[in-house]
């Protein structure tokens, strides 16, 4: 299993540009998450999904959009990039059942700079 894969690894955007961060998992996990991590800080939840076709906002959703058309893929869309969106973006997946949530598996991250 590849686990959670993210592309690209690095990206530089100009202010106002748009891009999509890709995330794929091959563990058949029902839950997927997008986090951002600013330098020296913890992770903040942007959006999450409990299954294909279902998404919901996290702590910091403004300026982002997501979709979940398949179990495997959970892309994150940035519209009109702003310098405040400079961060490292992590995608994660987990299985959650009747007993609750289980460990989250993280992708390697995408380092995004907006100038």
């Amino acid at each position: 299993n590849a686990g959670v894969t993210q592309t690209p690894k690095f990206r530089i955007l100009k202010i106002g540009q748009s891009m999509t961060l890709q995330c794929t998992q091959d563990m058949n996990h029902n839950y997927m998450y997008w986090y951002r991590q600013d330098p020296g800080m913890g992770l903040k939840l942007i959006y999450y999904s409990v299954g294909a076709g279902i998404t919901d906002k996290g702590e910091v959703p403004n300026g982002y959009n997501v979709s979940r058309s398949t179990t495997e893929d959970f892309p994150l869309r940035l519209e009109l990039a702003a310098p405040s969106q400079t961060s490292v973006y992590f995608c994660a997946s987990s299985y959650s059942g009747t007993s609750g949530s289980y460990e989250q598996y993280f992708g390697p991250g995408t380092r995004l700079t907006v100038t």
Partner: protein
């Protein structure tokens, strides 16, 4: 809103010394997870605690979940250079369910 704080923010220890990081939530948690992130890496799951007052051990690491399920701690005995990294707690809020709130993290440096 939900807040999860960790102290200390940074800790420098001599190799062989013990280390503890504390995690405090503003609300009651349904469970708590601990992660380790090496510099330049991604968070890696260490453990999950679910029950009030639960204590779990992994070799030199001891994890505790408070009786009120609002705080937790991670204790490392006799640190090694391989323990270097940032340790995060993440709580699953009783009210918000599937959202995990990560703590601010404790960065551990081990001096050989």
């Amino acid at each position: 809103g939900q807040q999860v704080m960790q102290i200390p923010q940074y800790q420098h220890v001599q190799e062989g010394e013990d280390f503890t990081t504390y995690c405090n939530s503003s609300t009651t948690l349904s469970n708590i997870q601990w992660y380790k992130q090496r510099p330049g890496g991604h968070p890696v799951f260490l453990i999950q605690l679910v029950k009030s007052g639960e204590v779990k051990k992994q070799k030199r690491l001891t994890f505790q979940f408070g009786e009120a399920k609002k705080n937790s701690s991670l204790h490392i005995t006799a640190t090694q250079t391989t323990d270097v990294g940032t340790y995060f707690c993440a709580g699953d809020n009783l009210n918000t369910g599937n959202q995990f709130y990560f703590g601010t993290g404790t960065s551990l440096t081990v001096i050989p």
